[in-house]
């Protein structure tokens, strides 16, 4: 038996995809004004506009029927965006209780706007949530005016978008029963049921102000049925004002009976507040004297003079230290120098290498022509960058690409040209106190929770690769510990009681570990960590990673044996013990897109896999989404069905303009659950290795002379 509806749908999708492939006008129709569902649009209805590529939008609102929606949207590619929304729908459930709803959207631009045709987009709203906001649409937007300031939108929609102004009624009704636990894709419902028509117009008066009129096809049917909302008119009118760069306030009259307000924020990795950074100027390159002016230096015989060699070493050490670069060891011959450097300041390794080269040009005897610079992390060499001193002298004032063409990047495990002399003796002690900010999103009551405090971290490096670390947080103020989710899982409570561990204002021991990092072979990296691994678990963790310097693929394995810590007694352990571990595959798709699959056993003893997709930007921004599926039945998992979330990592240097290797990472996850929970061990290998290889030096090479 054929299914005409599905055939029609398949055809629709196929033909639209075809259009997308053939459309060929250059300009994308973009907007950074977000509607009350947190996507580019009118008031409640979407448009075919996309946000500018890579834009991250965060919106908080109070909308029709007192619903509160918090949405994060990310423009994954110029034609594709994804959104994650957490909402509270008061009195929405059949028993009159509130519904807390998570929803995911995907939007794709099918056709770019042309001179004579509109931009066309397709959207799936709430396609794996509980279904309260589920709806699909096909929408077209055409701009008019010299600055494209008038934009006319028309669209058709199913589901939520087909509950009013119905233009076509399917014989079959849409299956609208909520899927109790959410979290499974409601594929069977897509593009089924009545079809509603919506539209509207926007007028961008100036850079800051926009007016909107909208005809909505959302009938708020369930809300009216429950007697919690009256919809008297399909017309909504809105105004948006950009109060400061990237911050917008919106207000709208809704359905003739209500008003809504929204605050939205937009960020774009392509638009750093301090541009390429306020880094202090580097030292100028120095030319070598003529051979006649320094015969001893050019002869190389200075190597016999141990005092002179020691003097040179200490000058290099001091100059590097001023640049936040620790010289760990050095090997020197009359013509070649190898330096093992621990770069503590520069996020772009190329910049650390450039600054090191400048210092070497100004400090070394003239006979040394080859600089071999080996970045090291926790005693483990990660790669080697070889450059010629005469190129450094010749190319300081030229296009950076000329210098980059002459760099040779290798694996870093080649033998040293001479015996390595350790500069910084072991043990090495490093410590620091710095402020921290922790954010919690998607609490039903408060859209954003935060905690500020002071963080003490100290490391004792006992020998190359051997590290003892401690990390203590002292909360000062915040409301993060009020996040409340009951642990109602049917499986062991391994993560959902997280709040027990952050309650109160006493200092928290985040970590107290002994770790060993090594590079057992050219393409192999290893880690063993033991102790109090994270706030909730203590035990032993071992990891091995295979990653050739120039390979797109990497493979890893991690095995941990851990016991749960006692939230009330800093060093005590609870009875719960578990083996957890994963085998991992990492793939670099190019253009900054990365994929990762981890398969194994999770903290609750459940088996499964985590799929991660990430877009990484050369300047250090990373935006990723992950989903974990385990053998915990969806019924036992509880609300949310499977663990999923979005991770946003912003370089501190991007935010402040000051050099820093740190990133501020925030995970937006709808619920902290016990299924699919992973150990949060520090120093996982892939991120450490990925940052210092040939690709990264190439990607951020523009900073060599910065």
């Amino acid at each position: 038996m054929t299914h005409p509806r599905r055939t029609a749908r398949a055809f629709l999708l196929a033909s639209c995809a075809g259009l997308a492939a053939t459309a060929a006008t250059p300009q994308e129709l973009t907007s950074s004004v977000y509607n009350f569902y947190g996507v580019p649009g009118l008031v409640d209805m979407p448009t075919a506009e996309m946000a500018p590529d890579a834009e991250l939008g965060l919106s908080f609102n109070l909308s029709a029927a007192d619903q509160r929606r918090t949405t994060v949207s990310f423009q994954l590619a110029p034609w594709l965006s994804g959104s994650f929304r957490y909402s509270r729908l008061p009195d929405f459930q059949p028993d009159g209780s509130d519904l807390f709803d998570r929803s995911f959207d995907l939007r794709a631009r099918l056709l770019r706007e042309g001179d004579w045709w509109p931009a066309v987009a397709i959207g799936l709203q709430d396609f794996i949530g509980t279904g309260a906001y589920s709806g699909e649409y096909l929408v077209a937007t055409k701009s008019f005016g010299a600055k494209r300031q008038f934009r006319l939108t028309g669209g058709v929609g199913w589901g939520r978008f087909g509950t009013a102004s119905v233009i076509a009624r399917d014989t079959a009704t849409r299956e609208t029963d909520f899927i109790d636990t959410g979290g499974t894709a409601n594929v069977d419902q897509l593009f089924t049921g009545p079809i509603g028509a919506f539209g509207g117009i926007t007028w961008q008066v100036n850079d800051k102000l926009r007016f909107t009129a909208e005809y909505s096809s959302d009938g708020y049917a369930t809300e009216e049925e429950r007697g919690i909302f009256e919809r008297e008119s399909p017309w909504n009118f809105g105004v948006d004002y950009e109060i400061s760069k990237g911050v917008r306030l919106s207000a709208a009259s809704l359905y003739g009976t209500d008003v809504g307000v929204q605050l939205s924020f937009t960020f774009n990795p392509n638009d750093p507040p301090a541009g390429p950074g306020l880094d202090q100027a580097p030292l100028p390159v120095k030319s070598r004297p003529a051979p006649s002016a320094d015969q001893l230096g050019w002869s190389g015989e200075w190597i016999e003079d141990s005092d002179r060699v020691a003097r040179v070493r200490s000058r290099v050490t001091e100059a590097l230290d001023a640049e936040g670069i620790t010289l760990e060891a050095v090997a020197v011959t009359p013509t070649v120098i190898e330096l093992r450097i621990d770069n503590r300041r520069w996020a772009a390794e190329a910049q650390a290498v450039g600054r090191t080269a400048r210092i070497l040009s100004a400090t070394l005897p003239p006979s040394i022509e080859t600089f071999r610079i080996v970045p090291v992390e926790d005693g483990v060499p990660l790669s080697a960058i070889t450059l010629k001193r005469s190129d450094v002298e010749r190319l300081e004032f030229e296009a950076t690409s000329q210098m980059l063409d002459r760099l040779v990047v290798t694996g870093g495990t080649e033998g040293s040209p001479a015996e390595l002399v350790t500069i910084e003796p072991y043990p090495r002690f490093r410590w620091g106190i710095s402020p921290y900010f922790n954010l919690g999103f998607f609490d039903p009551e408060t859209p954003v929770r935060a905690e500020v405090g002071l963080n003490l971290e100290a490391d004792l490096q006992m020998a190359p690769g051997f590290l003892a670390s401690i990390d203590i947080e002292q909360p000062i103020a915040g409301n993060l510990d009020e996040l409340a989710f009951e642990a109602n899982s049917e499986i062991p409570v391994v993560r959902s009681d997280y709040v027990d561990y952050i309650e109160g204002s006493s200092p928290r021991l985040e970590r107290l570990t002994l770790a060993h990092y090594a590079r057992p072979g050219e393409d192999y990296f290893s880690r063993v960590t033991a102790g109090y691994l994270e706030l909730m678990y203590a035990g032993v963790s071992g990891e091995l990673l295979w990653k050739p310097v120039t390979s797109r693929i990497a493979l890893g394995a991690e095995l941990n044996f851990v016991a749960k810590r006692d939230p009330d007694d800093v060093f005590a352990l609870e009875d719960y013990e578990v083996f957890t571990g994963h085998v991992s595959a990492y793939y670099d798709f190019g253009n900054g897109y990365y994929g990762q699959v981890d398969a194994g056993q999770y903290l609750a003893g459940d088996l499964g896999a985590t799929f991660t997709f990430q877009r990484a930007f050369d300047n250090g921004w990373r935006v990723g989404a992950y989903a974990t599926f385990t053998d915990v039945p969806f019924e036992d998992f509880g609300e949310g069905s499977f663990d999923k979330g979005i991770q946003i990592s912003v370089p501190v240097a991007w935010l402040t303009g000051q050099p820093s290797r740190r990133n501020n990472t925030t995970t937006l996850r709808p619920l902290t659950r016990d299924g699919g929970a992973r150990l949060r061990v520090n120093g996982r290998l892939y991120d450490r290795v990925r940052d210092t290889d040939a690709q990264q030096i190439d990607a951020r090479g523009g900073r060599f002379w910065k």
């Binding site: 990795p269 390429p276 004032f397 000062i476 290797r661 002379w705």
Partner: protein, 231 residues
């Protein structure tokens, strides 16, 4: 629940703390706290960027010069950044001279034409004057293609090619902030580059020196108004 003001006080306390520790990886975190505080609680409490009074009178300049290392000195006004600085030569090499400010910025010139900057965020990474210098110094006329290289937010270096028309714009007797006087020809260089245009000005002496110039750095940094106060 802790009250809002407590958060503000906490944030302020964090700012008051000096960076503490022996590990440069932490520097950025303090900068972050400071920038957040500067934009939120800072203004309420009267924090702000304290800009040193400009060294702009002959007396002030005469007082500053002996404190600097021997060698050429520039005075630079940057109207866009509402800032001014004294920069002294720290390097001369292959025809390029590099001047540094005490706050860690540098300007590199070749024959008094700026070729690169550092420490101003939107710096000129390097540039090619492609004959502009010769025309300016001999106070002639002509059109050249200058190349400016900048760093993108994604750390790629990109080139801006500017078509610049140089011509004399009359004689002018100038008095520098140091009090020194020169009779010069004002040279005007009008540049067109990818949808924007900018103008550089050079006051050139009969010997081909340029005691004063206004040179565009980048859209964000704007113009450097440079005076040579010691040669």
């Amino acid at each position: 629940m802790m009250a809002k003001p407590k958060l503000l006080i906490a944030a302020t306390a964090l700012v008051a703390l000096a960076a503490c520790g022996n590990d440069p990886t932490r520097e950025g975190a303090f900068a972050l706290a400071q920038s957040i505080a500067a934009s939120t609680v800072g203004p309420l409490l009267g924090f702000g960027n304290e800009i040193e009074p400009a060294v702009s009178t002959p007396e002030a300049i005469a007082a500053v010069l002996p404190q600097l290392p021997p060698g050429p000195v520039l005075r630079i006004e940057i109207p866009n950044l509402e800032n001014s600085a004294i920069a002294f030569q720290i390097s001369t090499r292959a025809g390029y001279r590099t001047f540094a400010t005490v706050t860690g910025q540098t300007v590199t010139t070749r024959d008094e034409i700026v070729t690169s900057t550092r420490g101003f965020a939107w710096d000129i990474m390097s540039s090619a004057t492609n004959g502009a210098t010769q025309i300016i110094r001999r106070r002639g006329s002509g059109t050249v293609q200058r190349i400016y290289r900048y760093l993108s937010p994604m750390d790629d270096e990109f080139e801006v090619v500017a078509t610049c028309t140089i011509s004399p714009d009359g004689g002018e007797r100038i008095t520098l902030a140091s009090g020194a006087q020169f009779s010069t020809t004002r040279m005007r260089e009008v540049c067109q580059a990818e949808g924007e245009s900018f103008t550089n000005l050079y006051w050139v002496t009969s010997g081909g020196n340029i005691p004063r110039s206004h040179q565009r750095i980048s859209e964000e940094v704007g113009v450097f108004e440079i005076e040579v106060i010691r040669n």
